[in-house]
């Protein structure tokens, strides 16, 4: 699904912030991306999302050379990826419903075609009573759930989530994690960046990608 071959990244003439990255995200896999703060977890997620270009190495995504993609091809790739940002990135002038529906709306679908699907998912993440509320009036946890719902609504083949349970209570965190696991069971590959060891321990079959000192180490479930 995604393969990194000797990938490195530096900003300008500075030192490499990430280097020698060799790993792959297999289809239908589940992994946590972990490591200390500032180690480069978010940067690595941005490389996977192709919003950053590596300064060396090769990235293949869905069988294509990611660095040679045209803008149209990049758009098609991004429609196969769902992403949850750490800072949510909800559009302030849209309602919760409209934010969650965004990935379907940009494909040109009519609103009536996705209304039932979006309201059902909003119900599932506990935002059924907040569909008209703009993000400004949502709590941190509600914003996070809206961001997760937006990432899931188009049933992506790959889900990238940056600290998706950072702002919710443990009960909601378990509920959201169950949602990710269900999604994984239905065939989506999941990458969750988190510091939360307790959360990681709840998914025994998950791989762990540990980022530290600009390097990445892959720990298989049997190594844990």
């Amino acid at each position: 699904m995604i393969r990194f071959e000797n990938v490195g990244l530096r900003y300008g003439a500075g030192p490499e912030v990430l280097g020698g990255l060799n790993f792959s995200i297999p289809p239908q896999s589940f992994q946590f991306l972990t490591g200390p703060s500032g180690a480069g977890k978010t940067t690595l997620l941005r490389l996977m999302l192709l919003s950053l270009r590596p300064t060396r190495g090769a990235i293949r995504i869905f069988g294509e050379d990611a660095l040679g993609l045209s803008k149209d091809e990049l758009t098609k790739v991004r429609r196969r990826i769902g992403v949850v940002f750490q800072d949510f990135r909800l559009l302030e002038h849209l309602s919760t419903y409209e934010n969650v529906a965004l990935p379907l709306r940009v494909t040109g679908k009519s609103e009536s075609a996705y209304r039932a699907e979006v309201t059902e998912l909003l119900d599932w993440v506990g935002l059924g009573e907040r569909i008209h509320a703009p993000p400004a009036v949502l709590s941190g946890g509600e914003k996070q759930r809206a961001a997760i719902a937006r990432a899931l609504i188009a049933r992506p083949e790959l889900l990238l989530a940056d600290e998706p349970t950072g702002n919710v209570d443990p009960t909601m965190a378990r509920r959201l994690l169950r949602l990710f696991v269900e999604l994984h069971k239905s065939g989506t590959a999941v990458v969750i960046a988190t510091h939360d060891i307790a959360l990681m321990d709840q998914v025994g079959h998950a791989r762990r990608l540990y980022v530290g000192d600009g390097r990445l180490e892959v720990l298989e479930p049997e190594d844990l």
Binding site: L49, L50, S51, L52, R53, K71, D72, T75, R78, R79, V83, F85, R89, L91, H93, L94, S95, Y97, E98, A101, L102, P103, R105, V106, T107, G108, E111, R115, T119, G128, E129, R130, I131, H132, A133, V137, R150, A154
Partner: protein, 315 residues
């Protein structure tokens, strides 16, 4: 209570009339300012274009009037019977092909013509003044004066034909200069408006960078993003051009009513003769509508082009 609050109180209701919110925020200070700029520019463009149309029509009308009218000037010798010669030349003109009417000006008519310069009560019969025959050509015969010229020459060697061509040429040149000047002003207004739209689009893209980024990450193509900006600016252009074009149309209507009222006054008739009735015809109003449509489409197209150019450089 605002219009949005009832929705919050009835959270499960997505009414049948629900329409998705525009992805580019519409009600911003910059948007309102751009609507005002577009309205002013459209108003100026419509005024300039309307004025050019009025002058063009007036000049066409003068040229038409003058082209169908020629004057025969006769300088009778002192020993000649001027009235007989006048009648003879008028008759020769009347029988010439293409002539609708040949009217000799009597001594009284001539005196009336000279009255503004020479005053009343002067006996001009003793003065060696040329006598005139006013000839009106049939429609479409103004250009071919050859037969009339020959007939007049045969009738009298003292008569010559003045087709007003020198004056007509000066008039045409003046009208062309005015219309060209109006065209240049119109172009400048359009360039100024395009520049304002360009700045506003770049501003909107810069302010909406976060929106554009999110749209890209959720799978929006450049075309989709550009279309959102295009629709946004299409709406602004439409509002501005309708306001500006409507105001200009009202100005022309008011000018038409005022000039009709003023035409009955002493100076009004002369002004109307020179500049026409200050009244745009239906085609003139169509031109104003065309300018409004053009401004709206130009605004939308420019914004789309600028956004696409910007997105080309964004990963």
């Amino acid at each position: 209570m605002s219009a949005r609050e009832p929705d919050l109180l009835e959270p499960r209701a997505l009414s049948a009339a629900y329409r998705p919110t525009a992805l580019i925020p519409t009600d911003t200070v910059a948007s309102r300012a751009l609507v005002v700029v577009i309205a002013i520019m459209t108003f100026l463009a419509c005024l300039t274009a309307g004025a050019a149309i009025l002058i063009g029509e007036a000049s066409q009308s003068w040229r038409g009037d003058v082209a169908e009218s020629v004057t025969i000037q006769i300088r009778p010798r002192l020993d000649e019977d001027a009235e007989a010669l006048l009648a003879k030349v008028a008759e020769a003109a009347r029988t010439s092909p293409g002539v609708a009417e040949a009217r000799p000006l009597s001594l009284a008519d001539t005196q009336a013509l000279l009255e503004p310069w020479l005053g009343r009560g002067l006996d001009i019969s003793k003065l060696p003044l040329p006598r005139l025959v006013v000839v009106r050509m049939r429609a479409g015969h103004g250009a071919d004066l050859g037969p009339l010229r020959t007939a007049v020459a045969v009738a009298s060697s003292e008569a010559n034909l003045d087709d007003h061509s020198a004056w007509l040429d000066r008039l045409t040149a003046m009208a062309n200069v005015i219309v060209s000047f109006a065209g240049a002003v119109f172009l400048l207004v359009i360039v100024a408006m395009s520049t304002a739209v360009g700045f506003a689009t770049r501003g909107a893209v810069a302010n909406g960078r976060e929106i554009v980024e999110v749209l890209h990450f959720v799978g929006a193509s450049d075309g989709f993003v550009a279309r959102q900006f295009q629709n946004h600016f299409l709406g602004l252009g439409l509002r501005g051009s309708l306001a500006g074009g409507g105001a200009a149309a009202l100005c022309f209507l008011a000018a038409s009513v005022l000039s009709a009222w003023w035409r009955n006054s002493a100076g009004g008739a002369e002004l109307a003769a020179l500049f026409g009735a200050f009244s745009l015809n239906v085609l003139g109003y169509f031109a104003l509508v065309a300018i409004c449509i053009g401004v709206t489409l130009l605004t939308a197209y420019l914004s789309r082009w600028i956004v696409l150019r910007h997105l080309r450089n964004v990963q």
